[in-house]
């Protein structure tokens, strides 16, 4: 294995994180939070020196990265970035415990949005900016970002893209990996800017707009208010609901629209399934909660917002749906947690494309029991899905289920919470959604969980974001021990 190249890439990522830490410093300067600024500067210096050392000492001629290295690079980079990213919280004293800070940072980078803070509003503006900015970076991917700005990507860099981008099939938009990464980020930045403008038009202050745009774009869900989005006007709630849905769409489709291939973009089976699923779910939720509100426009707004938020794994809330006396609405929302959004978006979950492929495979199996000799293939987006991918999707379902069961079991040692709370906590973190669906009114905070549970949940957030395999491979000692 190419250890040097792995550590070299981790070094590069840390240097870039150091540069990203300059942004919150600027925010601190604007709001005159000098102590926080110092904390960010120290964190940046630490990131830069570790990264610089790795880059200097690990320079190597052999730049080849195979699939295995790609997976390990991705998981190590995410761990390293989270470990360093937690420093500002601890140094500034906003989150004194390092495990808590790590939980918060992992939750940020994995675009989960789960928090251990009890009172978000008491934090400084610079620190809150960093907290939300991690969403934005993590949404499209740390290494995709690195690839977009570095002048030369290593050989076989597709292996990194594949390991970091969610979904069963990862394709390049244009011939070169670096240009693909650039295009993705341009679309991402464009959509985020558009959202900020829409929010400003709705009368949201600039700082709030930027924070919530980060949270929405990354489908993360960190807010700066204890009651999430509920305090903003109806226009803003609608804007955020629509944009959450937009960020859950496969970004390749935006590229197709940009190059004017509208037909191909709108013919996408994944997009149609995603929208249909959304409409049906929202309708069911609306049916469930209409009797509770008896006001169609309120019920519609709440139903659409909650459905969009959970389906795209964002986790913003405008109402505490756990208190709704509407089993159908609750059931739909909890089931949506596991499906998630499109592959190639910033959202988490099992991914719509996998669901489609599995359903088609299931259909084939049924047909086979009717006509045992029937020949069958699975087609997705007008292309045949090869056996390896089909098997991969099936295996992923198995690994996904097993991981989830293990997480639930580990959380069940927690006596302070009900089984329902632990189950939704696991689902919420593993699928990168966010709030704890036990006390949404109280901010959905995880503060009351034990250190052990917090570590388990941090790990499950990473597992969910990186789609299990990279982390599983890295934690497997057989990979590291030379035989």
């Amino acid at each position: 294995m190419n250890y040097k190249m792995i550590l070299y890439t981790v070094g590069q990522v840390l240097i870039i994180e150091a540069m990203l830490l300059i942004l919150p410093m600027a925010v601190c300067a604007v709001y005159l939070e000098w102590f926080s600024l110092l904390c960010f500067a120290v964190s940046a210096a630490i990131a830069a020196s570790i990264g610089g050392a790795l880059v200097l000492f690990m320079k190597k001629r052999d730049r080849r990265i195979y699939a295995k290295e790609g997976l390990i690079i991705v998981s190590l980079c995410w761990i390293a970035v989270s470990l360093i990213g937690a420093l500002p919280f601890v140094l500034s004293g906003d989150i004194p415990s390092y495990t808590d800070a790590l939980f918060e940072t992992v939750s940020g980078f994995t675009t989960t949005g789960a928090t251990i803070l009890r009172d978000i509003e008491s934090l400084g503006r610079g620190v809150l900016f960093w907290r939300s900015f991690t969403h934005w970076i993590g949404g499209m991917g740390v290494l995709v970002f690195v690839m977009a700005i570095l002048s030369r990507s290593p050989d076989r860099s597709m292996n990194i893209l594949r390991a970091e981008m969610p979904g069963p099939i990862v394709d390049k938009l244009v011939p070169r990996a670096r240009d693909t990464a650039k295009i993705l980020y341009i679309i991402y930045i464009g959509l985020t800017a558009l959202l900020i403008i829409f929010l400003l038009l709705g009368g949201m202050p600039l700082y709030d707009s930027v924070i919530h745009a980060f949270g929405t774009a990354g489908t993360g869900g960190f807010s700066i208010n204890n009651d999430s989005i509920a305090g903003y006007n109806h226009y803003i709630q609608w804007v955020i609901a629509v944009f959450m849905l937009l960020f859950g769409v496969n970004f390749n489709l935006y590229y197709l629209i940009l190059i004017r291939k509208y037909k191909t973009a709108f013919k996408s089976g994944e997009l149609r399934f995603y929208l249909a699923l959304f409409v049906i779910s929202a309708a069911l939720v609306l049916y469930g909660i209409y009797p509770l509100y008896e006001n169609f426009s309120d019920a519609l707004r709440l139903a659409v917002f909650q459905t969009s938020s959970i389906m795209t794994t964002t986790g913003y809330t405008t109402a505490d749906f756990t208190l709704w006396n509407a089993p159908i609405a609750k059931a739909v929302l909890i089931l949506l947690m596991f499906i998630g959004s499109c592959a190639g978006s910033t959202a988490g979950g099992f991914k719509v494309s996998r669901v489609i492929i599995l359903l088609k495979k299931l259909g084939n199996e049924f047909r086979r029991s009717l006509h045992p000799r029937t020949a069958s293939i699975v087609k997705f987006e007008d292309k045949r899905v090869d056996e390896a991918t089909l098997g991969g999707v099936g295996n992923y379902l198995a690994v996904y289920t097993v991981s989830f069961i293990v997480i639930v079991l580990l959380l069940s040692f927690e006596r302070a919470f009900s089984f329902e709370a632990n189950f939704t906590a696991a689902a919420s973190c593993f699928n990168n959604i966010g709030p704890l669906y036990d006390n949404i009114a109280g901010g959905g905070t995880f503060a009351n969980y034990s250190v052990f549970s917090k570590m388990v949940l941090s790990l499950s957030m990473l597992l969910g974001r990186l789609e299990i395999y990279p982390l599983l491979l890295t934690l497997n000692p057989g990979v590291w021990i030379k035989k």
Binding site: D155, R156, S157, M158, V174, P175, R176, A177
Partner: protein, 456 residues
């Protein structure tokens, strides 16, 4: 540039790997999905799986905006047809591999080239045969690279244990030899050097010597290298390369003996080339080789379809005291292993073709003062030897060379002016219309101005 490569076989892949180092937007196309997936995993290219003659699939590969379209599938007909389609769809330049002997005699090739508006037809077998032929013409060199049609030659030499050049510095060497030449590249222990005047040669070095084509024989003599012309050659393997090589050799009155296993193929050979002696038998059978007098022959060329066979039988030929042994080795790993084990002259068809494609792509690149005419990658790819055409806009026309500072890892090795060849010194100048030969390591050179740092 946007480049589409159709056919991801041995040659297609080598082209992809060479071109992807040059920062082009590459699309690879093949009708085998597995192959496409593999290629996309290795090189930074986009993959399209489909038939290379299909309008829709070609559109998917972005042929409409392609600057260069290269078709290197196994079938001449598909290559021609897909180039034809690509040209009609808007590809600016098209290159097809056309290797059937029927298609390759001048008249029919010209007809096809003009009819389907082909920019270039490449024939790997013919190119390989020419490379081997050049080496056989100068048997003491391990490789011979031609610039401006033989005006300049670059000879690859290996300094043997007992070489008289061991420990000699380049300044001393220049005083010793009357004819003008330049040692422009040295490879020692896997490291590459562009030597200065005080550089001392060591036995075991692989060196590149550039000189006027007229002087090479005299220079080799002066350097203490015996260069006995070759009069008879044994070739094992009767493929297309052997056919072209045999043709070239018989035209320059060298007697050729070919050993081929397939009787039908043997007869075909005789039909086309009656002067050649064709032996029906297994070319790697030592008994047959002995019988046909391998120990008495001047040169032996291993051209079977298998790299491993070629390498092994070449060693056998060396053990039988054949002066010059040339082996065809396609696989990159085997190439360097064979070189380390001590085979001097190895030719790799896919490398030759890939070099030609890189050269072609670089010549298409918009450059201001010069265009690439010839390009070879030398010393295992550590450096490039390039020939530039100097255009009128070249910035440093008529500036004495001592007044310009060259990039550290480059060397201006020769100037061709009309029929005159110049090994440049500080007082020489470059004029428009000249052809200039450059050796460069490190950063790629697209324009002659790239090797000049500043005017002093």
């Amino acid at each position: 540039m946007n480049i589409v490569v159709v056919g991801c076989g041995k040659i297609g892949r080598k082209i992809l790997s060479s071109l992807s180092e040059e920062k082009h937007n590459l699309v690879a196309m093949d009708n085998d999905g597995k192959v496409v997936e593999e290629v996309v995993g290795i090189y930074d290219v986009m993959g399209v799986c489909g038939n290379a003659t299909d309008y829709i699939k070609l559109g998917e590969a972005g042929v409409k905006n392609a600057d260069l379209f290269i078709a290197v599938t196994n079938f001449d007909e598909i290559n021609m047809l897909s180039c034809f389609a690509a040209k009609k769809m808007g590809a600016k330049h098209t290159v097809a591999r056309i290797r059937d002997t029927e298609n390759n005699n001048g008249e029919s090739l010209n007809f096809i080239k003009t009819q389907i508006d082909l920019s270039l037809a490449i024939n790997p077998e013919y190119m390989t045969a020419t490379a081997i032929y050049n080496v056989l013409k100068t048997p003491s060199a391990t490789s011979v690279e031609m610039f401006s049609r033989h005006r300049f030659e670059m000879l690859g030499l290996i300094l043997r244990e007992d070489s008289p050049l061991d420990g000699v510095s380049l300044i001393e060497l220049r005083k010793k030899v009357k004819e003008k030449f330049l040692v422009c590249a040295v490879s020692r222990d896997d490291k590459f050097y562009i030597p200065q005047g005080n550089f001392r040669l060591k036995s075991g070095d692989r060196i590149g010597v550039i000189a006027s084509g007229r002087d090479t024989q005299k220079i080799l003599k002066a350097l203490g290298v015996i260069n006995k012309p070759i009069r008879n050659v044994i070739i094992t393997g009767g493929g297309k390369t052997s056919y072209y090589l045999a043709k070239l050799l018989t035209e320059s009155r060298i007697s050729v003996k070919i050993i081929e296993q397939d009787r039908k193929r043997c007869e075909e050979f005789l039909e086309e080339l009656p002067e050649v002696t064709v032996i029906h038998g297994n070319g790697i059978d030592q008994e047959i080789l002995q019988e046909e007098g391998i120990s008495g022959s001047d040169a032996f060329v291993a051209l079977t379809g298998k790299d491993e066979e070629n390498i092994l039988i070449s060693f056998y030929a060396i053990s039988q005291n054949v002066h010059k042994v040339v082996s065809k080795v396609n696989g990159e790993e085997l190439y360097s292993i064979a070189e380390k084990l001590g085979l001097d002259s190895i030719v790799s068809p896919k490398k030759i073709v890939a070099d030609a494609m890189v050269q072609y792509a670089r010549a298409l690149e918009n450059s201001e003062g010069s265009t690439v005419e010839t390009l070879y990658r030398i010393m295992n790819g550590d450096a490039e030897a390039l020939e530039f055409n100097i255009l009128q806009d070249f910035e440093y026309v008529d500036v004495p060379l001592k007044d310009v500072k060259f990039r550290k890892d480059t060397l201006l090795a020769g100037i061709v002016r009309g029929t005159e060849t110049i090994i440049p010194s500080g007082d020489d100048v470059i004029r428009s219309g000249d052809k200039v030969i450059v050796v460069a390591a490190g950063e790629k050179v697209y324009d002659l101005a790239d090797i000049i740092e500043e005017r002093v």
